[in-house]
Amino acid sequence: MNASFDWGALLGDANVRSVLLGSMLLGAGAGVLGCFTFLRKRALLGDALAHATLPGVCLAFLVTGSKHPFVLLVGATITGWLGVAAVNVITKRSRIKDDAALALTLSVFFGFGIVLLTRIQKTGAAAQAGLDKFLFGQAASLVPADVLLLGGVTVVLLACVVLAFKEFKLLAFDPQFAATIGRPVGALDFLLNTLTVLSVTVGLQAVGVVLMAAMLVTPAAAARYWTDRLPVMLVLAGTIGALAGAIGAVVSMTAPRMPTGPWTVVAATALFAVSLVAAPRRGVVARTLRRWRTRRRVAEENVLKTLYHLGESDGVWDAPRKASDVSGRRRAKTAGVASVLPRLANAGWVERTGEAWRLTRAGLDRARRVVRLHRLWEVYLTERLHLAADHVHDDAEEIEHILTPELEAQLEAALARPRFDPHRQQIPYDAPVPASAAEPTVVP
């Protein structure tokens, strides 16, 4: 923003404050209620209900002739609820499945709303009534009285969620179990749906019926990336919704003819994209990093293992080997091996002597473990899954890198510490195997 834009003066303006506050409240309300919509996999129901509010707004105006926000809110709530009820009745009472029921409800209600809106426009009243702003939202049209009403409703919504948190959680996670312990599942479902309808109607003026469903789903989907706890998810989704609302409001005020809904939704989507990419553990970056680290470790272990194999063939465990010796043995690229070796040296697994590298004590132990896991797994596959000995190597090449010490112990115990793998190669243990241990069980 350039310097001529005076934020201080803008925030001092009561109207500006109410636009900002109103947009944030509606974003927070929709974000919190949307978590339950999202977790119950009813995102499309939110879309149908948002569209179903349009005829309500128009009818309320036609009947009362008033554009008082309370009147329009009541109308929107009624038809929004009828939309939800229509979906439920159609799926329960007919053979139509829920996707078709949602599509039917959405288009019929929205179509009816558009017919009414056109009719109102023909009479020339729409402009005065400003009903067309309900399509795509106009945050700048919020006045302090609107914010008082919308804010009041939002506070009630959030209070209900806090109060009924435990019941809503159970309802969303396992409704059948809730019914078996005597919870009034029907009534709770009704309450949650009503709160969701209200959170949508509260947002209509600023976001519009067409895009309001995105405010239910997007903040919830974004919040899910950051946490595994439902309370935290609710707070985060509320915050993300509020932030998106604020951004939409600012755009609406700086460009008054611009509809707010699309901007709010774009802002929410941007926050979602950030979550998708940057969230710890679940985000794309974290996942990629994890995969990359694993690949790196696998490459390192393969080089260590090959050094061990070389030692096994000539009996000299700490002989210096060239990168080309290793790559020749593994049929790998010499350059690749050459790039891994210095990393291994830094970590203390190998030592450099001139152009060659040799295993350190620690490196030998680690290499031995990889080889041991490989061969134990081969024994397991041939003995327990009855696979042919020449079919088990490729599988073991993968498994050797991922077995945990616990699984290793279980594997050792289950197979009674076999001395040889199916190819008659010795399985190297850290402690010597007693002489009585089993002879090879499968002949290559």
Binding site: K166, F173, D174, T180, G182, D228, R229, L230
Partner: protein, 282 residues
């Protein structure tokens, strides 16, 4: 279509099903079901089920796919509307003793990616003891922790549930049932798709519940171990084929009746009912 279209032949058996034997039950039966029928959209899926089970018994419910095993459990708990019949818990109509009933649904019935921890799920077993909107207290938490511990899951209390293996998830569900401190348990396939260690843990739990005088009704799919696992068996295929002590009713003849195809007449009547319902709707 008429019934005559089908190759007739099969003699007697059709409606000559031998009457159910009654086994004596001492004390108040934890669960009685009288003349229960259930229909999905007018299509009957359970016909005239009638039985009572004794206290402190492990009962396996077996039958082919689509026999109505899960439906029976759900109908008993009032999750499905009954077309007819009555369910009694501890001698009284069902709702009176709801809190003495514990339920373990099929593991796949919920979304394990839900943002919650193992302990939180187990705590849900305590919700029934608390009023609507009332939070669980410290004692409830203690009970939930002990239930997790009992299932060998203490170390996973704070783990998000999607990070648990299938067997561990099943144990969380069983811990939740334990936390309910119920006297009659209904379990839907607790042995399905679990590892050997979990199978053993579930079995030990069942036996311990029994020695504590509780009754457990288990929907089970592995016929091979029915005699080892259960005292009684309930054999179901749309109707009740047999119920009683395993060594008396788990017979080749009953198995043939249970698994040897549906009763032809019953299946056709069911189909006809369904078709007519559709025609009415068209």
């Amino acid at each position: 279509m008429t019934l005559d279209d089908r190759t007739p032949v099969r003699p007697a058996m059709e409606d000559g099903v031998p009457p159910l034997r009654r086994f004596p039950i001492e004390g108040v039966p934890p669960l009685e079901v009288h003349d229960l029928s259930v229909a999905y959209q007018r299509r009957p899926v359970l016909w005239d089920i009638d039985f009572a089970i004794p206290p402190a018994t492990l009962i396996g419910v077996v039958g082919p796919n689509g026999a109505g095993k899960s439906t029976l459990l759900k109908a008993v708990m009032g999750l499905l509307p009954l077309a007819s019949g009555e369910v009694r818990l501890f001698g009284e109509p069902f709702p009176a003793h709801r809190q003495r009933l514990g339920y373990v649904p099929q593991r796949e019935s919920v979304d394990w990616d839900f943002p919650t921890s193992a302990l939180d799920v187990v705590l849900m077993g305590r919700y029934g003891k608390r009023a609507l909107f009332q939070r669980p207290n410290a004692a409830d938490r203690e009970i939930a922790r002990r239930a997790l511990q009992r299932m060998g899951m203490a170390a996973f209390a704070d783990r998000q549930i999607s990070q648990l293996s299938g067997g561990q998830q099943q144990r969380v569900f069983l811990a939740r049932a334990l936390a309910q401190e119920a006297e009659l348990y209904l379990m839907d396939e607790p042995f399905a798709g679990v590892d050997a260690a979990t199978e053993q843990a579930v079995l030990e739990l069942l036996r311990e519940l029994k020695t504590q005088g509780r009754t457990v009704v288990v929907v089970h799919h592995d016929l091979a171990n029915v005699p080892q696992y259960f005292d009684w068996v309930l054999m179901l295929n749309l109707r009740l084929v047999a119920i009683g002590p395993v060594n008396e009713v788990f017979t080749a003849e009953h198995l043939r009746q249970t698994y040897g195809g549906r009763l032809r007449l019953l299946t056709e009547v069911t189909e006809t009912l369904r078709r007519q319902e559709q025609e009415v709707r068209r």
